[in-house]
Symmetry: C2
Subunit: 338 residues, 2 copies
Amino acid sequence: MKIGKQTIKLENTPKILNTSSMVGPKEMQGPLSSYFELHTDDIFFGEKSFEKAESKIMKTCVDNLIAKNGLSKEDIDYIFAGDLLNQCISSAYCIRDLNIPFFGLYGACSTFCEGLMLASLFVNAGYAQKVIATTSSHFCSAERQFRMPLEHGNQLSPTAQCTVTASGSALIVPKDVNSDSPYITYVTPGKIVDMGIKDMTNMGAAMAPSAYSTIKAHLQDTGRSIDYYDAIVTGDLGIIGSDILKDLFKEDGLDISEIHNDCGVLIYDKDSQDTHCGGSGCGCMASVFSGYFYEQLKTKKLNKILIVATGALMSPVSSQQGESIPGIAHAVAIENEV
Amino acid sequence: MKIGKQTIKLENTPKILNTSSMVGPKEMQGPLSSYFELHTDDIFFGEKSFEKAESKIMKTCVDNLIAKNGLSKEDIDYIFAGDLLNQCISSAYCIRDLNIPFFGLYGACSTFCEGLMLASLFVNAGYAQKVIATTSSHFCSAERQFRMPLEHGNQLSPTAQCTVTASGSALIVPKDVNSDSPYITYVTPGKIVDMGIKDMTNMGAAMAPSAYSTIKAHLQDTGRSIDYYDAIVTGDLGIIGSDILKDLFKEDGLDISEIHNDCGVLIYDKDSQDTHCGGSGCGCMASVFSGYFYEQLKTKKLNKILIVATGALMSPVSSQQGESIPGIAHAVAIENEV
């Protein structure tokens, strides 16, 4: 049921039965390494190209999710997937091999929450019993897609973020499935917000206003206050974007600094890992949610969280043509009790 | 409610309240010209780039859909949109200006049916009252995206298709809205089918097996026979792809030649327009359905149709890396009586 201006209440509170995460070598050197289920030390993951490696990381992550729940791929009703590559080839080649009816998504780095929203809305409406949402990104495929080939050896701007090599996947089921898994209670699909940022190396600044817009809409629509949640987790605003988000709320007289976390800030050690403003990419929230935050929910260290994946909807072509960077953010409320 | 292996029955039968279509100059020289609502004779549509022109065509098409139903953009709950461009920039820049909560999709040329499925499932579940699905494509932006810049002046292969410069949009509302508009009764999301075709200039051959797979699944799931429908309409298989589809059904002992139509075949005059195997692109089914077939339904010349948009999920990068072309097709059943 739609409530307020853009939020949907999931009256049947579907569950996130389980998650799966896989990361690359750099992410395994970061502070969250113990939370990631699978990893590879080989940035090519045994493949001949970065794009094929990314697709195989997603496939390995999804295969693991299916297998560890004692399921086979035929048991999955639908899969929602997306990535950052041109024409979303990481997802397409992954899901070709899975043979599951497929909805392709593109929401840049917001795609994990976009998929989670749609998967949970499908289960909530009784359209399906088992739906997977997954996304991936890869540092090397993203660099040559959006910036420069690695061979170019260009220096990163201090505002830049490092695309995470990772995938995360979540399996959504009806609430009556026997498990103490957390529920999805509300989703707030975002509007595009574009404040005119044109700097492709400052994604955090481009995306922060959209995170602000969606979180604010979510709170207004649900009547909840900021402190209802144990944590409000953005996807990949990074250090600068997170500061902007906090400043925007400060202008409303709200201090979110205690409960705000950003997956892009959490995934790397900023002092030792040379990742500038932090991590980014479709795989950032996907892996950090599926690895770290899902564990925090299961162990009741956190009981009510709002995850807000943020995306920058430009392309190199639109930037070359002088366009600014449109941002979008999608929010999903996840709670241990309903 | 899910029925069979991959189909969802829409028990609340949402309506396609209205559609809107806009095409470019070449499409206005084709046999369906009288059915398209809007057109431009300027391939740049007053913009400085083909990409900006494409986005403006989508925006004009959606604006028209909203305005002609006496609505404002604030009345629209959600919009599902996608296009063929890298990072879907046609949709992103269109919807930035619309300020409607947005789900970005990528299903290549299958995206129109992907959006129509999700929009109608949202309305069916009571998540929204007014949802728009839209897609666009542009010959010139697609050529430089997937093939060669136009300045290169390369010759097209005889199996090639011509990307349609067009957009189509549909407004989905609950069935109790007073209007004699057609209903959406079933949707069948497709699986990826890849028969190993690697020729980027023969999309019809790459996509035909996925159309066959989805139509067959739809018929099995619903228990309907081919002749239940007045027309089975594929998106952009073109001449060769349509022949392959008919051959595949012939192997099952089924003759679909009388009721099969393909938007890519219908949109151009093959003898006079030098479009080789016909039209293709996200805008092909979008404009031909929104222009021609919606009119056929409203005037009761057709009462039960199955539209099946087909997509080729490769990118130039995956083709350069030696990958074959994964195909996908999504089917939507539209009927005047329920």
